[in-house]
């Protein structure tokens, strides 16, 4: 019996001591093993390195584009010559339909075609499938980020996915809608073939176009003023002959508050009429213009189309929740309330950081003049900041600003639908440029550098001097000890990777894990448990010794009584 009691007393003592010991030591840092991450190569290996080189295809001179994922040169050749004027071999490399871009008739006799027909289709990205619990065709704007989206896409031929085994979208099906380039005076027909399951239209914002065409009907794209919605399976021709040049905007004007944000928006640029001005009619994926117009080549060394866009996660999820078009229509048209919505994804040329580094770098050399055309197709004002540079605003909304009054800035505020043409000069004078480097260009509303609130993301990219380009044509940052690999994992944007875990050897700001320490709640309940156990033991002890206790009690009482009696 005494050993039993001894053990019973020892147990609570050990428990108590362990509780107090646990409370004195904080949990150890848990470092996420890089092996546990789904790491992507920083540069997509799918691209043939020869795509980056300066080259000539079908007689079309294509500038070098020293970035990780440059445009397919065959796309550029087809866009410059027209799909009707290139060899079948080149056409097969584009994936375009043979009637996607038709260029004929040099009407003004200046050496370039003046009748331009562009066929656009409307494609869905990242929409629900009734066959498997996933989305199709997939398009990632950042690692693991696949918002439901719609795009105008150049008319293509064949499958919408890479192949039958893959669910990844064909490279022609991507955000943003392609940049369209035509000349002043061209007779342009944009043929919209509505391959989507919803009604749509095209509104040519800023482009000189007639309100109605004698043959093709209403041309303004507005179902409340100029035309009825273009139904699925139908085709409509938008014809114009622009008299003024400028950086303009085209978008769907059906249920604009949702359709525009879904991605049905792109840049359309009217170039000055010049002799032998074979334009790159489509800049698929926007970005670097590898065959600039005659007018741009006269004044600039390089040209970039920068399309800023913003998307609401909840809006995109509607096409991932339902497959039935009636339910999608109901949720988008009647239930979605844009006045209660927030934008979650900020993109530059259809992608968010770090993917912007793959194809939307502005690669410069000292003493260059670079033309940047900017469009904001998001729903809010943005403020684009160029690190290390002040650029000159030459055009607002496609109209040239008085050259004498032109100003230089380093933050460019852009209202929704606004376009700015900038002249970026890489002259190291402390004003135009502070010198060579890997200079950030980003939206200075701080949410603009996040993806669904997770930094670093959003529409940020870089103005990179060639001396700062590293392996696979990504910005060279490793010599500063910078490792960008963590951004190329979906776990980072799932908020599962501690951002600062690799800043020092012992991960002082890593994850504390749940580890050894006990929670406050369990600690108190354990202490109560120990108290209960002790009192239980005490009761047992009292019970087992009750006879002797009563004897002692009686003895004391009688003694007291006796003493009382003796007093009397």
């Amino acid at each position: 019996m005494p050993t039993y009691i001894f053990i019973a007393l020892l147990a609570p003592f050990i428990m108590l001591s362990s509780v107090t010991y646990g409370a004195s030591k904080l949990p150890a840092t848990v470092k996420v093993n890089p092996e546990a991450l789904t790491s992507e190569p920083m540069c997509d290996p799918v691209i043939a390195p020869s795509w980056r080189e300066a080259q000539e295809i079908e007689g079309v001179k294509i500038e070098a584009s020293p970035v990780c994922s440059p445009d397919n040169p065959a796309w550029i050749a087809a866009a410059v010559k027209g799909t009707n004027n290139i060899s079948m071999d080149t056409l097969m490399k584009t994936g375009l339909s043979p009637d996607a871009i038709i260029k004929t008739d040099d009407i003004d006799g200046d050496g370039d075609p003046d009748r331009i027909t562009i066929r656009l289709e409307i494609m869905e990205l990242n929409g629900k499938s009734p066959d498997f619990p996933g989305i199709v065709p997939t398009f990632d704007i950042a690692p693991g980020i696949q918002p439901g989206a719609w795009v105008f896409s150049p008319k293509m031929s064949g499958m919408s996915t890479e192949n039958f085994e893959s669910i990844r979208a064909n490279p022609l099906l991507r955000l943003p809608s392609p940049v369209i380039r035509v000349e002043v005076g061209d007779i342009v027909q944009i043929v919209l073939e509505n391959t989507h399951y919803f009604p749509h239209s095209i509104h040519l914002h800023g482009v000189d176009h007639p309100f109605a065409h004698h043959e093709h009907g209403g041309q303004d794209g507005v179902p409340q003023t100029s035309e009825i919605e273009l139904m699925p399976g139908d085709r409509r021709v938008y014809q114009f002959q622009a008299r003024q040049p400028g950086t303009m905007f085209y978008h769907c004007h059906v249920q604009t508050h949702t359709h525009l944000a879904m991605g049905l928006a792109g840049m359309i640029i009217i170039e000055e009429n010049k002799p032998n001005n074979w334009l790159q009619t489509l800049n698929i994926g926007a970005g670097h213009v590898r065959h600039p117009s005659v007018a741009v080549r006269e004044h600039y060394d390089q040209e970039y189309d920068l399309h800023y866009h913003a998307m609401d996660k909840e809006l995109g999820q509607i096409i991932q929740r339902h497959n039935d078009p009636r339910l999608i229509a109901r949720d988008m048209n009647q239930r979605y309330d844009i006045t209660d919505s927030t934008e979650d994804y900020y993109t530059l040329n259809g992608l968010s950081f770090p993917y912007t580094l793959r194809e939307s770098l502005i690669v410069v050399e000292p003493d260059q003049k670079i033309k940047l055309r900017l469009l904001n197709s998001g729903g809010e004002l943005i403020a684009i900041h160029t690190h290390g540079h002040h650029a000159t605003i030459t055009h607002y909304d496609g109209v040239e600003h008085n050259p004498v009054a032109q100003i230089m800035r380093d933050v460019f505020d852009m209202a929704p639908a606004q376009r700015l043409d900038l002249k970026l000069e890489t002259v190291n004078d402390g004003k135009h440029s502070y010198g060579e480097g890997d200079w950030l260009i980003h939206d200075h509303r701080e949410k603009g550098i996040t993806t669904n609130g997770m930094a670093e993301g959003g529409s940020m990219s870089s103005i990179v001097y060639k001396s700062y380009l590293g392996e696979s044509n990504m910005p060279k940052v490793s010599h500063f000890g910078i490792d960008l690999n963590k951004y190329f994992t979906k776990e980072y944007y799932e908020r599962r990777l501690p951002v600062w875990q690799d800043l020092d050897e012992w991960s002082s700001l890593g994850s504390p894990g749940e580890g050894s320490g006990l929670e406050d709640k369990t600690q108190t309940s354990l202490i109560y448990g120990v108290i209960g156990l002790l009192s239980g033991l005490m009761f047992y002890w009292i019970f087992s010794k009750r006879k002797s206790i009563t004897q002692v009690m009686l003895g004391t009482i009688s003694r007291i009584n006796a003493s009382k009696g003796s007093n009397q």
């Binding site: 009707n84 060899s87 079948m88 056409l91 097969m92 339909s97 043979p98 009637d99 289709e121 494609m123 869905e124 990205l125 929409g127 629900k128 499938s129 009734p130 066959d131 498997f132 619990p133 199709v136 065709p137 008319k155 031929s157 064949g158 499958m159 919408s160 996915t161 192949n163 039958f164 979208a169 099906l173 073939e193 509505n194 391959t195 989507h196 399951y197 139904m231 699925p232 399976g233 139908d234 085709r235 339902h322 497959n323 039935d324 078009p325 009636r326 339910l327 109901r330």
Partner: protein, 326 residues
Amino acid sequence: MNRNILSLLIAGALTASIYAVAQPKDTINDEHAHHDHSNHSIEQHKEQPTDQNQDHSHHNEHQHSSDHAISHEHDHAMDHSQHTTHSPEHSVSGADDHHHHHMDHDHIMDHEGTMIMGQNFDKLPSSCQSISEEVEITVRAGRKYSAKFPGTAFAFDQQQWKVKPCSKITWHFVNEDNIRHQFMMHGLPKYLYKLGMFHLEVTGPKTVSGTMIVPGKDETFLVHCDISHHMEKGMKAQLVVGKGGTDIPSIPGLTPYNLTDTYEAENLPKVGDKVESSKMVRQITQFTSDNLQTYGMMLIGILLGLLCIPFIKGILKLRKKTENNN
């Protein structure tokens, strides 16, 4: 009372589900008539009087069997003069000279993107000794065919075709929309068909035709349009060879969807709302409909109470008796 309502509901649900189960069967039965597209053919010819490509040499090569499946085609052999069928030597459209035509063994494309891929006139699958029958099937594609399947946007006119093993099929793919559509078949033997695919593609309104030979065993092949979300939104069918294999899922009206959307009642305006536009009437109906359950229960209570009166009376009498006895 509630139980009655419940059983009624269950009975209703049962009949509805039986109806739902029966529906696909009906459609399958309809399929038996699918070879009879003599009317279609005439229609089609009238629609395309300007088609320049009147190549019927190919048809003359056909040894039409007397099988009922193509007998109608046979009857209308004279119409073939205006058929848009294309032999391998003649591409889909011979009209334009300044445009390119891509031609290799299994890939033909014209200047408008009309495409035939994986065509096969004579190479027998290893499972076949000879061609069992030669069939011509007209497939129509368009938005209008989705009308009979609520919740879809595009469809083929038929969702299923049945042929004998080792059949040689000439497909006439009639796109009636003003956009691109595809007739794409997957899962064919890869030693005969590149990537196991037979593929017709055309921007409508226009027809493209292509010929292929199916393998010799019972199998079911997926047929769809691969333009983004055309299959998901209804443009999906199957080719059943012989007795067929496993059904392809989510073919409108034919096979169940793997994943279905959830539907809920919506507060849509009804004509009835207008009829009862008087505020008073509306309030009263609203009130009664809201309180129907309460009043119903009250009524049941009253009835129970009335029924209980004799018993209460009896009890009271008994009590009096016992009191008297005491």
